[in-house]
Symmetry: C2
Subunit: 148 residues, 2 copies
């Protein structure tokens, strides 16, 4: 059990990602918890978000920051530059791809992306850490592909 869950390394990277995109300093007075709050959705809250409309730009930004933070962590631990592509269709279905050279380091399909979120900060931290671990393992297994 982490007492201050926002101290988890992945969540700290995510917070840094979000704060970096704050040209007017709106988030300066916000705590990390408050900044991450929109990522936390109960099952009931998810159900209330309609999935028959396109993903709104704020939600898409949230998804991009999340996978951007994963990419940054993999970059720091492997020294390879990563690209992030989030591609969603009108129905909230699509792909998230993190790649380096010709290696797809993270590839996930998204469904109902309008409802992107996690039950808890702990679950979010674990999901990010899992993607980071498997991404690093791929880079270590196929280093030549990142240079191709």
């Amino acid at each position: 059990m982490i007492t201050d869950v926002t101290a988890a390394p992945f969540l700290q990277t995510l917070v840094t990602q979000i704060r970096a995109q704050d040209p007017y300093g709106v988030y300066r007075a916000w705590s990390d918890e408050l900044l991450l709050k929109p990522y936390i959705l109960s099952k009931e809250e998810k159900r209330r978000i309609p999935v028959d409309t396109p993903v709104d730009p704020v939600t898409k930004g949230r998804i991009t920051y999340f996978y951007g933070a994963i990419a940054r962590e993999i970059e720091q631990q492997t020294g390879k530059l990563m690209q992030v592509v989030v591609s969603l269709n009108e129905e909230g279905f699509g792909w998230v791809l993190v790649f380096s050279g010709k290696l797809l380091v993270v590839s996930r399909t998204l469904r109902d992306a309008q409802r992107f979120g996690f039950i808890s900060l702990e679950q979010m931290a674990e999901d990010g850490a899992k993607a980071i671990r498997s991404g690093i393992a791929l880079v270590e297994r196929f280093p030549a592909v990142t240079e191709a």
Copy 2:
């Protein structure tokens, strides 16, 4: 010099891709040349297409068919299933990614995608063939990555 350029294998695959998405049979009476005509743009015609508006769905469809045809050709020649992701932002900038497993077989950045097109059918056939050749070479070089 190819007399009937639409006989080029890549262009035939592209024609098949387009005809496959024709639920009302609109294209049934169209020649292959007519079907491919929107891909051919002179420099002057490109200049006349504004790039300060998002890529319209028809142009995006055209890009998707083009890379879909490349993916199908690589599939046929390698036996590996390919996914195609076309991700464009509001300014017509973005990525086209064709991948199999964890291998990025084709990865291209697009700029001014509103103006997607080629000077001639020959140039289009050559561009497609080039992407197919380099994609197949990657699959042959890193077969294990397509299974990862």
